[in-house]
Symmetry: C2
Subunit: 405 residues, 2 copies
């Protein structure tokens, strides 16, 4: 058992918001309140910038009901940022932590954030400042390594499964028009989000009919042939596609060239892939296609949030604090699938250093050979994460009336 | 009391799908089954094309539970079309109706569909074929005249209210980026759908910050000044905009010029407005903006459907059949608001001829003077239609920790 460490705790949220990141923070807050070693529980305003600028809120002043309601509140309640710390920033952060006797630093974010947390942890050790740093995984992209999946993913997957099932019905509705639909999902280099659209299917041939992930280079000719084939077979095509699609040279299909569209980590803003695809379809197949790009709406819906995801996010938050109190530092909570069917999950630990800046892509075994769909194995992986079945809809038998004319 | 008319009944769905159009059809089917005058209840496959091509299904062969589940099934279960009848088509339709002894023709659709229904009604009368034609209003656009509102609208409004509230939280989350968001809604010439995004606000200053409807000509300079002002005040801007926005010359900002993107009624496919606006913002204000274009997903969500809308759609379906049995013809069911608070609604009747091809735009009293927001009066009109409050989220008090450095 590690030495008892008394002091305050700061929680930070980082990167893009999700439906369940506040559930993680609620878990961390509740756990922190349980331990007498932790005196005050602070929330950094706008992620690491809150620590850097000494802007923190006192979470002990919030009501129990507000903390409880955080479990059902999407986005990042503490505020977040995309900011890469520079040389002197780390020293300054240590100074702020020291000034406020902060001994527990809990970072809720993705791989860039784990890198930040790792560096703070190492500097504290170097300087002999007793600090325990823990990471809570968070990313809709599901691209964190060393964890079975990440909180946030199950909910965006559930949102898309429902939306794409509905969009499939929509596309089936109008006989004379709107026969080809492209749905663009989020996702930079990893296609986990796009892959989850396959969960929309109730039957094997249900939409989406084609799924394109960034793991497989996009080929125009193959794409056009795919769309043409499905259209000729069924008269309808629903295509789901990742905003981060790249061509065979590894270039994003439509990364914005505006300097202003690049973030602090040098990531270019993506988008517009679906517009390119609609043009390809119109120009080559003389078919009218339209696109839906739900954008950020897909990542912050509580109405469609996965119950499993909400619970796991909460658990990950609690465990991060508990492990820190018990003496761990420099680690991120992982989710470990201990049983496949029925699904059961527990938490584990991994070094922040390992997670930092690593990226887990969709493995080959989850992508079909043609590179235009996912495999049964992916469905087995992803289905439990969306927390149960989708709404059930009526299917008419449609017995035809005998023609008389 | 009109003469009893015995025979079969055909139901048709037309135009774009909605979350509640099947609820209307379920109402019509159930009502039809109640009347001994009606022998068989048929569903036209793909709207008026089903009658024209003599493709109808026997709804009497569907189970009670399937019909019941239609009330919670989005899109158009019978299939729909966008097809403008040509000269001989009307004669052919009459022939099909006659061959199948169809005496009740119920059309569930928007203004184009009411025009079709009206012409069938008149031709039948001209030829002395005893037929009763009734319309059930349906349009997410809410642009049907002579009715307080149209089934389908309350649900798309609820979807957008929730999505824009969530998107507002999303935009508030990341301090360093994603500070300007444009959300593009459906709507061709009428801004009802876009206006409904104002229902996202819990407090007066909540997003959306700017709302642009097609009823007011779009002016670039004013737009840029609006965005600049809000951004300087709050550092965040959420803009909702109608896909059918037009400039001062009355031209759509971005109508597709592809021939293939024009439907049977000559309506051009719209879209891309938000991309234009993002570019305007980047070029003139040096601000990064991104857009969400939920597209058709917004109109077919059962999870976000309005309970009020679902009930009224069902009621409108029932009433259409009941009035037909009682002797009415050539009329559409209207929704009449008989009390404002608490909201109470009943049905009325209007001549199909009046509704056909008419278009109800958002009146001036619902749009603010600057043309960049809606008025309190609109909120009073629209709020009851979304069927109750939105999900409640946590709001932290955010008491700041005293700075020590």
């Amino acid at each position: 058992m590690a030495k008892t460490l008394k002091g305050n705790c700061v929680l930070a949220q980082s990167g893009g918001p999700t439906a369940v990141i506040n559930s993680s923070i609620a878990g961390a807050i509740k756990e922190a309140f349980r331990h007498p070693e932790i005196k005050k529980v602070y929330g950094a305003v706008n992620g690491i910038l809150g620590v850097l600028n000494e802007e923190m809120i006192d979470l002990g002043k919030e009501s129990t009901s507000t903390i409880e309601l955080l479990r059902k509140t999407p986005s990042s309640a503490l505020g977040s940022c995309r900011y890469k710390l520079k040389g002197d920033d780390y020293e300054r952060i240590l100074k702020v932590l020291e000034a406020h006797n902060i001994r527990y630093f809990i970072m809720n974010g993705g791989n860039d954030s784990m890198d930040t947390a790792d560096k703070v942890d190492k500097l504290a050790e170097e300087r002999g400042y007793m600090l325990r740093v823990m990471g809570i995984p968070k990313t809709v992209d599901n691209d964190l390594a060393y964890t079975d999946h990440s909180p946030g993913y199950g909910s965006v997957a559930r949102w898309l499964a429902i939306a794409v099932r509905d969009a499939g019905l929509d596309t089936a509705a109008i006989y004379t028009s709107d026969t080809v639909k492209v749905i663009e999902t989020m996702g930079r280099n990893a296609g986990w989000i796009t892959a989850s659209t396959a969960l929309a299917r109730e039957h094997k041939d249900d939409p989406p009919n084609l799924i394109y992930l960034p793991e497989k280079p996009f080929n125009e000719e193959k794409f056009i042939a795919d769309v043409d084939r499905i259209y000729k077979q069924t008269g309808r095509v629903v295509i789901t596609v990742c905003e981060g699609l790249r061509d065979e040279k590894g270039e994003y299909l439509t990364a914005s060239s505006r300097r202003i569209d690049t973030d602090g980590f040098g990531h270019k803003q993506l988008g517009g892939v679906s517009d390119v695809l609609c043009s390809l379809i119109a120009d080559n197949l003389n078919l009218k296609a339209r696109f839906d790009k739900p954008g950020t709406i897909q990542r912050v819906s509580i109405l469609c949030a996965s119950g499993v995801d909400l619970c796991e996010a909460y658990l990950a938050g609690k465990r991060a604090v508990r492990h820190a109190v018990r003496g761990e530092s420099g680690k991120m909570i992982t989710l470990e699938r201990v049983r496949k069917k029925p699904y059961r999950c527990t938490t584990g630990l991994v070094e922040l250093e390992k997670v930092a800046n690593a990226e887990k892509k969709v493995p080959d075994e989850y992508i079909n050979e043609a590179g235009n769909d996912i495999t049964e194995k992916f469905l087995e992986y992803a289905f439990p994460l969306i927390g149960g079945s989708l709404p059930r809809y009526a299917r008419l038998k449609k017995l035809m009336v005998k023609k008389l004319l």
